[in-house]
């Protein structure tokens, strides 16, 4: 069939831009309505006040992958035609860790900050200024960064392409990782909130940080072993 519409030439570039504003509107609306236009609400997750950020993220990921499974199997969308960025292994790991530090500092990520700016959060406006400065630093430094920026390019890698399977396998893997992670965090949050002490909070933060690093190492090893020549 015809989807993805823009890539398959069903709609024009201008229409795609108009759609982007509309789609962004929905995204921004839902983010604000769920309470994530607030650095305080976002960072509640990091200090185990609640588990809302992870619930929201995992539900969104599972919903999207579920629609892919349904629409893909009905032949209503050509999954190989969608675009996701190439996987640049070491730049991703570097960028992800640095992003995490920045998020712990600021309490925002780029998408939530835009919704927060719109709702009048002055700290989000300062964050936005910082973003513009950070982007300028990257642009000015690009001649020196270029080599690392394009290094370890693995192409577009999906779970099903890595294992030579179909998208059902990808969905099951997504369900397993997402479901386990959300359940695990649910447990940690309730564990910390029973007789909360600072040392308990810190040790759980380190535990989650280390487990996340282990996940990263496992995926890196998987990619290195299963993908030919990187």
């Amino acid at each position: 069939m015809s989807a993805p519409l823009y890539i398959n030439g069903v709609i024009s570039g201008h229409t795609n831009m108009l759609f982007s504003i509309f789609g962004g509107f929905l995204f921004g609306f839902f983010l604000e309505a769920t309470g994530f236009a607030s650095g305080k609400n976002i960072t509640d997750e990091f200090y185990f006040r609640n588990n809302r950020v992870i619930q929201m993220m995992v539900t969104a990921i599972l919903t999207s992958t579920f629609w892919f499974l349904v629409f893909g199997s009905l032949g209503l969308i050509q999954i190989p035609n969608i675009w996701t960025p190439n996987l640049y292994l070491w730049p991703y790991i570097f960028g992800g860790l640095l992003f995490g530090v920045g998020m712990a500092m600021s309490g925002y990520c780029p998408g939530t900050s835009v919704a927060a700016i719109a709702s009048g959060k002055k700290d989000a406006m300062v964050f936005g200024l910082g973003m513009l400065v950070g982007m300028a630093i990257f642009i000015f430094g690009f001649p020196f960064e270029k080599d690392f920026y394009v290094s370890s390019d693995l192409g577009q890698v999906y779970w099903h392409t890595l294992f030579g399977a179909n998208t059902l396998v990808s969905f099951i893997i997504t369900l397993a990782i997402g479901g386990f992670f959300m359940g695990f965090m649910q447990y940690i949050v309730s564990y910390v909130n029973k007789n909360r002490t600072e040392s308990k909070e810190y040790s759980m933060q380190y535990l989650i940080g280390v487990l996340a690093l282990i996940f990263v190492i496992v995926v890196t090893v998987l990619l290195k072993t299963l993908l030919p020549a990187s």
């Binding site: 009048g120 964050f127 989650i208």
Partner: protein, 172 residues
Amino acid sequence: MQQRGYWGTLIGGFLVGTTLFIFYYVSGAGFGASGGFSQLSAFIIALFSKSYIASNAYTAKDLGEHGITHILYNRIFFIDIGIFIGGFVSALIGGRLRFSVDKGQTTPTSYRYALAFFGGILIAYATRYARGCTSGQGLAGAGAYSIGGWLFLFCVFAGVYLTARLFRRQWL
């Protein structure tokens, strides 16, 4: 108290995930947010020196035949405009539209601003290497079976949870 009036995360997550899939269905690519800041930053630099943007290998491709405004004719920048309007309308409906600073009661505002500013710099710089943020790389990637999305997300969690302790004071 804090959460009163907010939608539940399951319905919110379902709607965001469905929005994400609609993006893939229509555009063939997911939503994102950080790219808009990159384009806006390049646009501001171009206001001062168009020749620099034209000579920089990272930004040269953004200059089209219509001059520097072409830098902002960018899918992610348009999504950011949408997020802004959507966030505004939702805050208006929810009665949350007011100038305020998110911080702990005893936290000095300047301290909160400093962390927000430097965190913004780190995040912007990081998104360039990761080819996106928690929306464009994390959710959009993991929501389309991409391994890079998950890899990025767990790197973010590692970074967040291993350093959150250092920045805890701003919320007390």
